[in-house]
């Protein structure tokens, strides 16, 4: 048996699964320390199912914590964004196409240094080590805790990123470093963007992962635990602590895969309403439709392969203003249990609205009795319109499509939606994320340049497939269940010796002890 946990901005959910069957599921508010919420929800799910700790073979955790931090521009560190590549790349400095507020939050500490490589490993310019030393001084002077380093063609040759990191580590020993070749693929701006975002999460990621550890320890669960990444496969905790950015879209992926399982619909629109945002994505053959193009996270372009999801600022903790005419985009998040009116707070949230309307019975109803009917109606209209518009925007034709409502915030939607053929609210819908995490598989990926000299495409491709399969097995997949799910082959023009870039992805079921 395994437990899937989803740590959202507002609630922490758990689902105890026996194979593909949900044995029990429950939720509890997310706590500011994260771990208390996790141990509470674990105790709850174990006691309601009567399953003992020793029967748990694995725990899978999905979290939108890092995505939310970027979307809300909260808990982010200022970053020294270092680029190695001058005189190339000068035309588009770091954070060129970023939303101004996020670039400002990260402090716009931009450093462009001579260096970088050509596609074949020759230097564009030697690394300007003196400049790196000067930047180290700047980092100390400005009190920065984290830095990103992105060098031109580092996926081909990472040595300049590593050398620059070595110098910085030597000069500023407690500096946290994110190197682009470990995070992304070829495609400079997108890889640099992801690396800068990874760097700004350095502090948050180590705190969150250690709180996961302590929560499981508290309950004496010694089964291995994993964290979901973008594509719905699993990562080890150590890996997440260093590369939190790789969890960015795991929430939507888990929720959509969980929803597919629960609703028994494989072609539908999934609307996952959490505490902070609503994520709308399309389900095709039971899997999220992947974005074919670059994906924006908090307004920043990345080249992660992720589900095509539209996020809007509507959740159970979203703040209601202007007599219900204006909702969000900000939310009280995990503080809903102290800030929402029904919980004795002083902030009018969407949850207060549905309680005031008599649609739900949460907290203390009397505390929302004073809200004018006009405000309640306006807010309900606005919330339904926001979701309907988001569904409409994600639709790819005018044809009606079933809409599956999941997530704790799905209580906000009580009416039919004009854009939907039907609205499905599957049982256990509010914990679809946790279910999706629990049924996640283990992946292995190969993405690099292979020479075709003296060999053939078929030979190279089967070697890459075998390597990807082996990686997924090494990461904990049952060899019998491993399947190649994605193959991409792109020849690099002009590369001597006739070379090709191959990306192969394999996934399999987690072996459970």
């Amino acid at each position: 048996m395994r437990i899937g946990i989803d740590v959202g901005g507002t609630n922490t959910d758990a689902a105890l699964m026996d194979g593909m069957t949900v044995k029990g599921a429950c939720k509890t508010p997310t706590t500011s320390d994260v771990s208390t919420g996790i141990s509470t929800v674990l105790k709850k799910v174990l006691s309601m199912t009567g399953v003992s700790v020793s029967e748990i073979k694995a725990v899978m955790i999905g979290t939108t914590h890092f995505t939310n931090a970027v979307v809300e521009r909260k808990r982010l560190l200022e970053v020294a964004a270092i680029r190695l590549g001058l005189p190339a790349t000068k035309g588009l400095p770091p954070m060129t196409d970023w939303p101004g507020d996020l670039a400002t939050t990260l402090g716009r500490h931009i450093f462009m240094v001579r260096g970088g490589h050509e596609f074949d490993g020759r230097e564009i310019a030697p690394l300007d080590e003196k400049e790196i030393l000067r930047i180290a001084g700047e980092i100390r002077a400005r009190g920065l805790k984290t830095a990103s380093i992105t060098s031109v063609f580092s996926p081909v040759t990472p040595i300049m990123e590593q050398r620059a990191a070595e110098i910085l580590k030597n000069e500023v020993p407690d500096l946290s470093l994110s190197l682009s070749h470990e995070i992304g693929r070829v495609g400079f701006l997108e890889r640099e963007n992801a690396t800068i975002m990874n760097a700004c999460l350095a502090d948050l990621s180590s705190r969150v992962v250690s709180s996961f550890h302590s929560a499981l320890k508290e309950l004496s669960i010694d089964a291995p635990f994993f964290i979901s990444q973008n594509d719905g496969t699993l990562m080890t905790p150590d890996y997440v602590a260093r590369y939190p950015v790789l969890t960015f879209a795991s929430g939507p992926t888990n929720s959509m895969r969980g929803a597919a399982l629960l609703a028994g619909e494989s072609e539908a629109m999934v609307v996952d309403i959490g505490g902070t945002t609503s994520d709308v994505g399309m389900l095709m053959q039971g899997f999220p439709r992947e974005s074919a193009v670059a994906v924006d996270i908090g307004g920043v372009r990345t080249n992660f392969r992720m589900p095509d999801v539209l996020a809007i600022g509507l959740g159970g903790g979203t703040i209601v203003r202007d007599e219900g005419m204006r909702i969000g985009p900000d939310s009280v998040g995990y503080e809903i249990t102290s800030k929402a009116l029904v919980f004795g707070g002083d902030t009018l949230t969407t949850t207060d609205i549905v309680v005031a309307a008599g649609l739900e019975d949460i907290g203390d109803r009397s505390r929302v009795a004073h809200i004018p009917a006009r405000t309640v109606n306006n807010a309900l209209d606005t919330m339904h319109r926001m979701v309907d518009e988001a569904v409409d925007r994600m639709k790819t034709s005018a044809d009606p499509l079933p809409v599956i409502l999941v997530g704790g915030g799905s209580i906000l939607i009580s009416r039919d939606l004009p854009s939907a053929s039907k609205v499905i609210r599957p049982e256990n819908a509010s914990v679809a994320n946790a279910i999706g995490a629990a049924i996640a598989q283990v992946g292995g990926e190969v993405d690099r340049i292979f020479s075709l000299e003296g060999t053939s495409r078929d030979v190279v491709l089967s070697a890459a497939k075998a390597e990807a399969a082996e990686r997924s097995t090494n990461a904990g997949a049952d060899p019998q269940s491993v399947k190649i799910v994605d193959i991409e082959e792109v020849p690099l023009a002009y590369l001597p010796g006739s070379a090709t870039r191959i990306r192969v992805k394999a996934v399999g079921d987690l072996v459970m002890g």
């Binding site: 590549g85 005189p87 588009l92 050509e118 596609f119 400079f188 005018a398 792109v490 023009a493 090709t500």
Partner: protein
């Protein structure tokens, strides 16, 4: 009529240029950002029609040469084309008065906008390819007698040169050799001509065509209209006239290899309704669509794969198994279909055994 290219036009231009790129020409995103920076700094770029171009105006065409994979990794300094223009002007001894793209498809739709803004010059609403092609000699300029040389070539490190040769094919061969030494990406200014000549040898209206394609797709999406239908109706109002969906299906194989530095590939598409698979031959761009013994569309007509759900054009580098696509074909205008034009960029120029039959002809 578009009289100036403003910041608001750049998204549409980039999207339309991706359609005209017929799978190649590189992702216009980077070029769009460079053009945006230039317009923000220097203001909107006047767009001048061929018929309004004074006879004596000195026109220079330009764009980038190299591998798109490199373009998106080794980002430009933004000074390369300026250096190429300086080098060209020093060589010929006169100042350039108007800029023209040499390729309307892909990233080269936007790089000329950047240099026009930087130098305060108008952009001519025309080009020499009417789409994207892989080689410098595949230009209507060359077809109708404008020498390709002198070619000014420059990179981000300040390296630059002038190539003078007798043939466009040689200019291509030498420039590409230099491009490899420049790290697989170089910036080029060549095919200098006067306004009178430009009117005779250029594919007219292709900058505003690209903006129109992008705008049509965007507005259809915003209004939840049938994007494909809107696009086909739009083409009917232009000198490209004929456009249609020649097939729809799922990509079941993408096989690629290198031939003399060119990426050559075959994409297999299984039609949704069953029937024989379609095969598309790619050499940077999509060249020919065959089904059994039938040729459904062939170069120089445009063959563009559009995502079934979003109608986004798919670059050949991003093609992969499982994608669901509509295959859009568009007939090129008459200036690109003459016997002398087909000799330079018709099927035989790409080593194909078929003769050109224009879509719907």
């Amino acid at each position: 009529m578009i009289t100036h290219i403003t910041l608001d036009d750049l998204d549409d231009l980039a999207l339309g240029a991706a359609v005209l790129g017929t799978g190649g020409g590189g992702d216009p995103y980077i070029g769009k950002l460079l053009a945006r920076n230039a317009i923000e700094q220097f203001g909107p770029v006047p767009l001048i029609q061929l018929e309004d171009l004074p006879d004596a105006t000195k026109v220079l065409t330009c764009g980038a040469m190299g591998a798109p994979t490199i373009l998106i990794e080794k980002i430009a300094s933004g000074e390369e084309l300026g250096l190429a223009f300086d080098t060209y002007e020093a060589h010929v001894g006169y100042k350039i008065e108007a800029v023209m793209p040499f390729e309307a498809g892909g990233v080269n739709s936007t790089t000329p906008v950047m240099i026009a803004a930087q130098r305060g010059l108008p952009l001519v609403d025309a080009d020499g390819m009417g789409r994207a092609f892989p080689q410098l000699e595949m230009e209507t300029f060359n077809v109708y007698g404008v020498p390709a040389a002198p070619v000014a070539i420059a990179d981000e490190q300040g390296n630059c040169g002038i190539i003078t040769t007798q043939s466009a094919a040689k200019a291509e061969w030498i420039a590409r050799g230099i491009t490899i030494r420049m790290g697989g990406q170089a910036y080029i200014a060549n095919y200098g001509m006067d306004g009178e000549t430009a009117r005779r040898v250029s594919v007219p209206g292709t900058v505003s065509l690209a903006i129109g394609i992008g705008r049509t797709l965007r507005e259809a999406r915003e209004n939840h209209q049938d994007m494909i239908k809107a696009l086909i109706e739009f083409f009917a109002t232009t000198h490209y006239e004929e456009a249609r969906i020649i097939g729809s299906g799922k990509v079941t194989d993408v096989s690629r290899r290198m031939e003399n530095g060119w990426s050559v590939g075959i994409v297999t598409i299984e039609p949704f309704g069953g029937g024989e698979p379609m095969r598309i031959r790619i050499q940077n761009e999509n060249l020919v669509v065959e089904q059994g013994s039938d040729v459904l569309a062939i170069v120089p007509d445009l063959i563009c794969l559009l995502d079934v759900d979003t109608s986004e054009p798919i670059l050949t580098e991003r093609l992969r198994y499982g994608q669901r696509v509509n295959v859009l074909a568009v007939r090129v205008p008459p200036i690109m279909r003459t016997p002398e034009a087909l000799e330079v960029f018709g099927p035989r120029a790409f080593g194909l055994k078929h003769d050109y039959v224009g879509l719907g002809l």
